[in-house]
Amino acid sequence: MLHPVPTLKETPSQTAGPYVHIGMTPNFCEITGICEADLGLTMLTPETQGQRITITGRVFDGSGAPVGDAVLEIWQADADGVFVSPPGRGSNSKPAFNGWGRQPTQPDGTYTFETIKPGRVEGPDGKPMAPHVSLWIVARGINIGLQTRLYFEDEAEANATDFVLNKIMDPRRRTTLIARKEAGEVPMYVLDIHLQGDRETVFFDM
């Protein structure tokens, strides 16, 4: 049975502006003493379980210039594919891992997260999605935060059946979401983000 529901309009988005670092990474831009550390700077504790990885890359605009005034946030499941939220509705199997990180881009457009490789999460079709990290990007000149995802090159089999990747018709564009692996004690996954241009990243409305 349907019931009428109250409806409000979502608050319209506005650009984060050129000084988003003040509000989201204040210590990074030398506003110190208000909070001890920038929120989301550190995702790992010694207790965190899972394969340590580094996620890094650069953000570019449509002219090929680095975007040095952006903030990136990531959101991911733990090593078992479980999210820490919503609160009280099943808890994360690894309480030491919150699953959320935030980093500024450096003047050369570089971002870096130290995290763990996420497990697989069930997709809308009931099958597990490939391991992925959700990305959200805001900056001057971005009117509404851009949603995208990072997938892992060494998960080719899982990527091939992933619900989201398979919605991207052009296989060349699909590759804009797949991070290149550089092996090491802590494997590094590299994904550049292109806001516009020939190599424009696939962005979502999710």
Partner: protein
């Protein structure tokens, strides 16, 4: 289960009304020219990944986190400017309060100058004003903070563009798909209507939604004005489970 059934907490997020938000490419705001994606967004609807979101509160929140008048004070004195309290309620599209969610805000000082090394405006820095704060909403979704009114300032866009006085807001909600950044303006400010960034919003009613209202009754006598700014995040559908609505 009886009585009025409210929308659930477990259902899918409503589709975002992209026509209500600014388009990606808005030529009047020139910074969008090389930063707006040219491809259409891929519309998928949220998966489990977008319907979960980070929780906060276990971090250390200091007593001055929501007091921009004092939280950067270097010499124990207050920041300079028109004193005010900004408060409001965070709701979802179903008009349900969003409790225990993180709200962050940042702004220029009373002269319209940001504390940032790339900021070139000649208005003076206030040594006692940092311009950043944060709150967690209470059980009813309310937040509040104390600050000074930010100044308007000129910015490089067209020859002589000015930003109206505004405060930037970042809001989380309980799902990563609700994540929102916006700006708050002040009721009655004529500068609102000549700003190219405000003008990226297609509907005047949307601009009104970003305009905080002077709240005469909540002013602090002999101290501070009060402005109310409510924020609406995406809501969720009810979910059907064995013919019963779940998550209510």
């Amino acid at each position: 289960m009886s009585g009025i059934i409210l929308p659930g907490a477990d259902g899918r997020l409503y589709q975002r009304d992209r026509d209500w938000h600014p388009a990606a490419d808005t030529p009047g705001y020139k910074s969008t020219t090389f930063r707006a994606p040219r491809h259409s967004l891929l519309s998928l609807g949220p998966t489990k990944s977008e319907m979960a979101g980070p929780t906060f509160g276990h971090e250390k929140f200091g007593p001055l986190d929501n007091d921009l008048i004092r939280n950067y004070s270097q010499d124990g004195t207050d920041a300079i400017g028109q004193r005010m309290v900004v408060y409001g309620q965070v709701l979802d599209e179903n008009a349900r309060p969003v409790p225990n969610t993180l709200v962050e805000y940042w702004q220029a000082n009373a002269g319209g100058r940001y504390r940032h090394k790339k900021e070139g405006y000649l208005a003076a820095l206030d040594p006692n004003f940092g311009g950043f704060g944060r709150s967690l909403t209470d059980d009813n979704g309310f937040y509040q903070f104390r600050t000074v009114k930010p100044g308007a300032y000129p910015w490089p866009n067209r020859g002589n563009d000015w930003r109206p006085a505004h405060i930037h807001f970042s809001i989380f909600g309980h799902a990563f798909g609700q994540r929102l950044i916006t700006q708050m303006y002040f009721e009655g400010d004529p500068m609102i209507w000549q700003c190219p960034i405000v003008a990226t919003i297609p509907d005047k009613a949307g601009i009104d939604q970003l305009t905080a209202k002077l709240d005469r009754h909540n002013t602090t006598p002999m101290d501070a004005l009060a402005y109310r700014f409510d924020i609406v995040l995406r809501g969720r559908r009810s979910t059907m489970f064995e013919n019963k609505l779940e998550g209510n």
